[in-house]
Symmetry: C2
Subunit: 352 residues, 2 copies
Amino acid sequence: RTHSIAVLPGDGIGPEVTAAALAVLDAAQERFGFTTERTDVPLGADHYLSTGELLPDATVEELRGHDAILFGAIGSPTVTPGILERGIILALRRQMEQAINLRPVRLYDGVPTPIAGLTPERCDMVIVRENTEGAYVAQGSTVHAGTSAQVAVQESVNTWYAVERAVDFAFRLASVRRKKLTLCHKTNVLVEAGKLWTRAMEEVGARYPDVETDYVHVDAMCMHLPVNPERFDVVVTDNLFGDIVTDLGAVVQGGLGVAASGNLNIAGTGTSMFEPIHGSAPDIAGRGWANPAGACLSLSMMLGHLGEGEAAAAVEAAAAAVVAQLPALAGAEMGATTEELGRRIADLVRDG
Amino acid sequence: RTHSIAVLPGDGIGPEVTAAALAVLDAAQERFGFTTERTDVPLGADHYLSTGELLPDATVEELRGHDAILFGAIGSPTVTPGILERGIILALRRQMEQAINLRPVRLYDGVPTPIAGLTPERCDMVIVRENTEGAYVAQGSTVHAGTSAQVAVQESVNTWYAVERAVDFAFRLASVRRKKLTLCHKTNVLVEAGKLWTRAMEEVGARYPDVETDYVHVDAMCMHLPVNPERFDVVVTDNLFGDIVTDLGAVVQGGLGVAASGNLNIAGTGTSMFEPIHGSAPDIAGRGWANPAGACLSLSMMLGHLGEGEAAAAVEAAAAAVVAQLPALAGAEMGATTEELGRRIADLVRDG
Ligand SMILES: CC(C)[C@H](C(=O)O)[C@@H](O)C(=O)O
Ligand SMILES: CC(C)[C@H](C(=O)O)[C@@H](O)C(=O)O
């Protein structure tokens, strides 16, 4: 079996953690007997500053030709904030129709969490974030800029097309997990969008009679997630609320070091992309201080997506085991470099 | 000195915690030598169900005639979600021009927090939430409802008028605290609104040269708030982000039991309102299981607003002392009823 993978290391610590993940991928290939063809795709701050290109059409076409994209991190203090995020990350999500941002929030055994008394059994949920619209349509308008009459209107656009598919995906996922799906929204204030999401929960839910449904306001979610994570199995939410609650989820599961995500095209019309949820962390780039676990857990998600289920499980277990031994999630106190940690994870994968 | 107060106990546990707070107010009056005239205002689910009225104009006029409003909680399972919230709470905020929602996030000595290792010195911030607009304009539109073409658009309207006044208020507050103001937004995605908020930070900031400013994305804020609360002194944010991060703040400071808020009219054009941030909790109503500390801390904020600074400090200290002795923040395990706890807080205030 062979899979073609586009590797998009990006900026800052992106290339470091991606290199570590690729060493782990080598080990997984050896052990589980598959191969990959890898194409390096140079996107990010350096590419933008030297060429003026953010996401050229030709690159999008090239990415389309691959089975998956392994993404490092993008962002740099040398570029005005927002340019790279919107021009590359959000553009990729939209152009590749990566309808779902999938964020497992799982506390691995031995990984320190800042939540007092929290145990791994109590924290195992998946957040399904709609990934293409809502407040992220990035439209909006300003009138009377610079005067005391300035008004900025920002729109959130919510379509049945995208909401129904996100909710259906979430129900499907819940039906093979603990069979509970929670909608997280703010229906008491965002009434029109709320009606659309609620309708999707009801209509799609009729197709999944064995999945129990539940609702929580996003503000209440931020109260429950840290202290009652066991309340959640699968959570479905919109793009903006998803952005917020998944980062809170990362705190609960022990920090950015262990948080991974998949940007999934579920229609076969584009390529799915897997990324650690940490950023490019320019302050620690080049020092070998970045924890590669997030990248390796993203690799695990990618392997699952490619149908390499055994390899996915082995990589996840190895990454979790190595993180559990670290005194710190990143930085000099980690006690080993990014590369060494990648090697340790790779060794565990290779040795089974 | 006398102050006229409108008392709006509301639904569920609202009347219980409000009664406890009023006993504490009695004690504060005795000790500090001021009086209050109190008018009970019947708003909430019962009033709505029996009269069909949410917030009659006459009630708004009556509230206007008072120096402050002491609010319990509103909400009932007998009313469709959203009706009371929008029809009373949000309507009051808007009609009374309560421009600011002020939420101190302070960990009191001895109050258990779910954040491992967090100490009171590290957690003392105030969140200033814009309280009248943004996504809370509650407008929006739906086309093609009930079909596969349904689209819901939700608008967030942001005006210089309201953003500038919120930012100015926040700077003023920061200048009498630790002189640090953080803007919490999502400027990399909500570009137009982000420009307005950023402009306000810059222009208003020029008037407060001794206040250091800082920026954090709302998703990153949810990572930092639990584990690095010392990073924040005053935080200013929009209505929707404020709704979310203040609830997370409540978790960090030990839960809803100890979280209070003020809805402030800062122009003298309406009456300010003080409310615990817990809801009406219909599941425990009538049992005496509600913790009155949130209501008492709201009373303390109200007293500060009325110029009764000494009384405010005494009530805050007494409420914090009593909460620190409780094994649980609400429920049967609290070991004392709402009324008894109110009496204990009142006694501490009376005895000094
Ligand atoms: C970089 C940014 C645009 C992005 C988002 O807001 O979606 C990030 O926070 C994420 O969650 O992947
Ligand atoms: C009840 C609800 C409308 C309200 C809000 O969203 O503002 C509440 O959550 C709050 O924070 O006071």
